[in-house]
């Protein structure tokens, strides 16, 4: 339990740093995981060089999915869109600092899926994240 629910994850779940909508935004996407009842939207602002200047999330779900979203939108500020495209599930697990089984991995990866879908479109993702 200590591994799974590190203080960081519980803290971010209870008091997220980056929750809310960005208006206006350059990219925005919403998706859900109806199996779990998770819903997530991510808004992103970029500058003229396609570098992320601000990002936020809105949604509800389990501690893993919400903490993952909060940490991810923070992590991508200052990054090029191309770098985001190269992000993988390992990056998310590193942010969370835990190992996850296949079921909970879906919770953790919802944020990356929503982020990439907002920036690149959903189709090429399905393959990449499975």
């Amino acid at each position: 339990m200590d591994d799974f629910y590190r203080e960081l994850i519980i803290d971010r779940y209870k008091s997220p740093h980056n929750k809310g909508r960005l208006d206006p935004h350059d990219y925005s996407y919403e998706d859900d995981n109806p199996l779990c009842g998770d819903e997530l939207r991510i808004d992103v602002r970029v500058d003229e060089n396609e570098v992320v200047t601000e990002a936020s999330f809105e949604g509800q779900g389990c501690a893993i999915s919400m903490a993952s979203a909060d940490l991810l939108v923070e992590h991508i500020v200052g990054k090029q869109l191309a770098e985001i495209k190269a992000m993988s599930k390992e990056d998310i697990l590193e942010l969370l600092g835990i190992e996850l089984g296949p079921v909970r991995l879906k919770c953790a990866l919802l944020s990356l899926k929503v982020l990439k879908a907002g920036i690149y479109g959903i189709e090429e993702l399905e393959e990449e994240l499975t």
Binding site: M1, Y5, P34, C36, G37, D38, R104
Partner: protein, 416 residues
């Protein structure tokens, strides 16, 4: 079927010793507490042994081979069918059709009976507490045929609104298909009364018995239902085999479901002649070991007595509901234990069911988190998901205590 005039208290501790998996730990020093029985039950050794015995001594295809093994295998498989027929009080073994599971049984009903009997504008009446398996096959058929699907609404305490049901019946549905026990709310529906009202309105009656047949005495004659579906794996038997029960006169008129070997009497290049019941609906080599295992599971349940099973589960459910409701922030859905099977679906303020389940898992406790294939019922109560603890004859009050203790840990961690 045994209608136990006298109820005997079951000894869960003794029963537990028949189930090998219940002796394991999920991690060193953490014994398993298995509370996910509504998803699938554990299997007693005699069920596992019956299947191993078949594979080690009798393995052969059934119904055709003229050799010793084939005869023994056929006999064992058909003995299971006969046992199941008696268990639910079917008039004949020919009314017991083996399928893969409850879902396939309801699909068989929709595809075979539905195709032959339902036309555009016909109504099928379901309820808001159905499992997806008793919704989606009808939605598929409705889209194809232009049927009208209607749903008996739920009351706030998780019962069916029988007044609303009465008025929906006035619209003349051809079929009423409903669950005898909700897998989420645990509600035990008044199946006999529902069936009586449906019959009086000229509708046929189908019952999803996936949760009821494993946990209480079910007698299709007494209930007065035309069709019933249930699965072996939720009643101490193996996965991969279920039953579709139908009244023989109705089954005779129904077209076949899947085509292939075993469901035919003869085949020519320009056509085929159907086999008789129940084989007409059983195409291809069936799950033989699973059928035999199913028979062994019924034998085990019969030895306990279904009345005793139900009485024991009511007792543990009452205890579990009392203990859960004493935890601040916990809300249990569905009726009180008297109208409820051994299921407790609950939410915990400020904590997502996934997190609850994950932390319980760390304590060795297996529960289910999510919508339990009953999204409409969750929507009704405006919740996204619940955590569900579901019990069976081998669960003890000590295990309920461990569940409650672990839920206090969840509270501590999330500080609700």
């Amino acid at each position: 079927m045994t209608s136990d005039a006298k109820v005997h208290a079951l000894d869960a501790r003794k029963i537990r010793s028949d189930f090998p998996v219940l002796g394991r730990e999920t991690q060193a020093g953490v014994p398993l507490v298995y509370l996910d029985n509504a998803a699938t039950s554990q299997k007693p050794k005699m069920v596992i042994d019956s299947m191993t015995h078949y594979y080690e001594h009798q393995n052969a295809n059934i119904h055709r081979g003229i050799h010793r093994l084939a005869e023994e295998a056929t006999e064992a498989y058909e003995a299971a069918r006969l046992r199941i027929a008696k268990f639910i009080d079917a008039r004949s073994w020919r009314e017991i059709i083996f399928t893969r599971n409850t879902t396939e049984s309801i699909n068989l009903l929709a595809r075979s009976w539905g195709h032959a009997n339902l036309q555009s504008g016909d109504r099928v009446l379901l309820t808001e507490m159905e499992h997806h398996s008793n919704i989606v096959p009808w939605q598929m058929l409705a889209a194809e045929r232009g049927l009208v699907l209607e749903f008996v609404p739920l009351t706030d305490d998780g019962m069916l609104d029988l007044e609303a049901y009465r008025s929906l019946l006035e619209r003349g549905p051809k079929l009423v298909s409903f669950t005898q026990m909700s897998n989420m709310l645990g509600t035990i529906t008044p199946a006999k009364e529902i069936a009586e009202m449906a019959r009086a309105a000229g509708a046929l009656v189908a019952v999803d018995g996936a949760q009821s047949v494993p946990h209480m005495p079910v007698d299709v004659q007494d209930l007065g239902v035309d069709f019933m579906a249930f699965s072996a794996h939720k009643m101490l038997g193996p996965t991969g085999i279920g039953v579709f029960y139908g009244r023989e006169d109705l089954l005779k008129e129904m077209p076949p479901f899947l085509g292939g070997g075993d469901m035919i009497k003869r085949v020519q290049l320009d056509g085929f002649t159907l086999n008789e019941l129940p084989y007409k609906f059983e195409a291809g080599t069936p799950p033989i070991a699973e059928g035999i295992g199913f028979g062994a599971a019924i034998e085990y349940l019969e030895s306990l007595g279904m009345g005793n099973v139900h009485a024991y589960e009511q007792q543990i459910t009452e205890y579990a509901l009392d203990r859960l409701e004493e935890i601040p922030g916990v809300r249990v859905y569905g009726p009180s234990y008297k109208d409820k099977g051994a299921v407790a679906s609950f939410t915990m303020e400020g904590t997502h069911p996934h997190d609850v389940a994950q932390i319980l898992d760390n304590e060795g406790i297996a529960v289910r988190a999510g919508h339990h294939c009953a999204m409409p019922a969750h929507e009704k109560y405006d919740i996204l998901a619940t955590t569900r603890a579901s019990f069976y004859v081998y669960n003890t009050e000590d295990e309920v205590d461990r569940l409650v203790e672990a839920l206090y840990k969840v509270k501590g961690l999330f500080g609700a």
